[in-house]
């Protein structure tokens, strides 16, 4: 089945803004969101909170959120907080 994907580039300088953009796009008709984290080297607790909210919203709307280009340091943070199981990961 073909999927309608929403694409969002995450800018490291404003991760929160990009995540907010992603949340808004989840309100549309897409059944998948792809967030490109390639330029993100670090993530802080505010951004992690926003990630969790995004995950909650995606679960409610049955939308898959795929994170692409997540570096291993950020991936580890998400793993420590048990967030990885709430997203899918692509390269």
């Amino acid at each position: 089945m073909a999927m309608n994907a929403v694409l969002v580039n995450i800018n490291e300088k404003d991760v929160l803004l990009a995540l907010e953009e992603a949340r808004q796009k989840l309100d549309g008709t897409g059944d998948k969101a792809v967030l490109d984290f390639s330029s993100v080297r670090r993530i802080d607790s505010h951004e992690l909170r926003a990630m969790e909210e995004l995950a909650c919203m995606a679960e409610e709307k049955a939308v898959t959120v795929e994170l692409r280009g997540v570096n291993v340091d950020v991936y580890r943070v998400m793993k420590l907080l048990k967030l990885t199981r709430r997203f899918t990961f692509g390269s």
């Binding site: 080297r41 993530i43 607790s45 505010h46 950020v74 943070v77 420590l80 967030l83």
Partner: protein, 887 residues
Amino acid sequence: MIASETREPNQIPPVTEGLSAERIAYLDGLVSQARTASAVFTQFTQEDVDRIVKSMVLAGLEQAQQLAHLAVEETKLGVMEDKVIKNMTATEFTYNYIKDKRTVGIIREFPDRNLAEVAEPIGVIFSLTPITNPTSTVLFKCLMVIKTRNAVIFSPHPNAWRCSSQAVKIMYETAVKNGAPEGVFACLQSHTLQDNAYLMHHKDVGLIDATGGPGAVKAAYSSGKPALGVGAGNTPVYLEKTADLNNAVVDIIISKTFDNGTICASEQTVVIDSEIYDLALRKFSELGTHICNEKETKLLERTVIDPQTGSMQPMAVGQKAIDIARFAGLSVKPNTKLLIAPIQGVGRGHPLSVEKLFPVLAVYRAKSVDEALKVCVDVNHAGGLGHTAVIFSRNDEIVRKFAEVINAGRIIVNSPGSIGALGAVYNNLVPTFSFGCGTGGGNSTTDNVNIFHYLNIKRVARRTQNHMWFRVPNQIYFNMNAVENLRQFPSQSTIIVTNPALEHIGHVDIVRRYISPETHAHVLVIPDAEPEIKVVMEGVDSLNFYKADQIIALGGGSVIDAAKIMKLKYESPEADLEELAAPFLDLRKRVVQYPTAKINRAQLIAISTTSGTGSEVTPFAVLTDKERGRKVTLADYSLSPDVAIVDPQFVMSMPKGLTADTGIDCLTHALEAGVSNYASPYTDANAMQAIRLAFKYLPIAYEHPHDEEARSMMHNAACIAALAFSNASVGVNHALAHAFGARFGVAHGRANALMLPHVIAYNAAVPAKFMPSPYQQGYVAHKKYATVADLLGLGGHTVEEKVKHLIEATEQLLDQLGFPRSIAELGIPREDFKRAVPELAQIAFDDPSWRSNPRMPLVSELIELFWQAYEGRGLANLSGAAAKQNA
């Protein structure tokens, strides 16, 4: 907040008793916040961390006085000025220790050991802090937490909450301002024991660091979580007669009055040698100490010690000496800073012998060093195990003895106990505000707790390239008439060890011919059998009698082995053969060491008269212990002969059977050394050459005993194979042959022959169990057999084909030499063999020979190999025993 996910298996169940849902939500929120902070923190670099730490240190120093005021005001304990010092020590001295230490990524490397240590943060730490050091402990722990990229939740002592939480606030604001993750520190707003219990059992708390009273420490250790619990002490002090008394008295006063004695490492009972007792008390008195008389001591006891529990009264903790004196009804001078109470013993009958966190010091007059040490041990055991002890002495021997008999994590010498134990001020102890008390104090460490206790340290162990060796005798002379070289070894007194047959056929005369005429030569004839202890000891008597400086061993393996052991016992009479024969796995790591001290010196020259064992160059010797009915195998390079003479004239008359048996022993040595886990390019060169020579010349030497070239080459082959297996050892073939040969009285070479094709097939197959081997890369036995096949020109395209051809060539050689094709052909009934096999397999498994075999034999596989040998050749194939076992 990041939501907690479902609890993972094997977690400690939560303890929610007595907590409302709101309270649980509050506590979970703190932990969740700390957990997020610690996760975010994992992304920080060493430079990030060090920058934050430095800013916190500066903030702590800036606020040291304010926090000290706050602490004294709130707790009513201690001395403000001293608390300033404590706060500054907790920041400045700690910083000085940690500033250059790596706590991120690779923290230490040991290139010579191929090891590296990598830091892994713990995550969330739950930390209890005490009333006695309420701000300094917090400052210290905050620095530890940031330096190690953890997060912490503090639970301060309830009566020190305001000052402790203020210290947390100062540290937190500074840390976050300088980049630390939000939520990295938290402090319980108010708390109960239930809160503590809940957090101690919380699934997301990684470590409990409990600095406080015994109750808190016990609760921490009882939680089932990893814990650093450090608690009470009872510091004994030995003031020994050689001490610098002026310094000692001042140091004790400094320490015991520091912050009114609230540091748990401070002095509690001073044991003073009788010779200096009166003078010491006079000096104490001169410096503002009140010495209590008997009546005052009683009054003091009743005031500061709880008669029910035998412990100090809380109301006295951290109070001034004059106030305590006033409570007790003592009349003292206004400037009194310390109260000293003489005691006559330690224990419940002597209440002041316990811990007293206030400026009251017990003193004891000791009539001897022995008595003093015993009283210190008593104090140590009266609540102070594992904590701190102090000695003032210039006598190193007494300091050493004190350190031996006192169980304390810190033994402070000639300096104040409390400040000394904190580290980095009077000595090079690691600075701390948490004293590990070891198992004596119910703690997990005796260390001064610091950053490395807040880290999981991961060790990266790279594979090491083990050193190998190739050790052989200094000199080997070979080819026809090599015995003439005996001329070049001058000797005053030589013993020729040989057997009756060799003497009878004139070999001894040949040897005598080439010994210098000035040499006194004596012949020692021993039985032609594996040497017994009795025979060896008789030989040693001869060596001693003739004061021999040279031993010539002329014979086969038995004679040369006997001579090796005679030399050992002659040079090192105390050598215990039983002990030296102890089993070992790796020669370099063996438990037993051969003697290096030698009272006599004798050169051993070995002249072999068979072409098989290679004993003339090996470091092995086998001895028979008839009394116990067993063989003793000795192995050490010190047993290797000094000179080997490989002269084929001594083997020209070997009968055909012996030629075949010894020749196959030689081939087995070479094949086993070739595939051994200890094989090296050096042993391979020898093994391969010996195999080539044996395949080519053994049939000729067997069929044409007088063929000088064939005899010469087989004699060389045996020696060359021995050079290989002396360094690479043998394998499972020898283990099987030893067990079978001994049980059924079959010659060693013959027993080897019966097993050989089956063992090649077995080793060439994929092992059911690989043998651990740091010396080899991968499994190569089958490839090395293929290399042998290539060397012999046997043909084949694949490894499997080449191994098959090698097995066929081996079987063909054995047929040429007239060996039986099976154990059954020896006439051993199947039923007899069947009964013997289980025990044979056990004996073979105990045999050290297979330890270097490329494939680790299972007992079931040894049984299978025995049965293959029983059924006979032609059955061996690549699938071998493993396939049969699988079937």
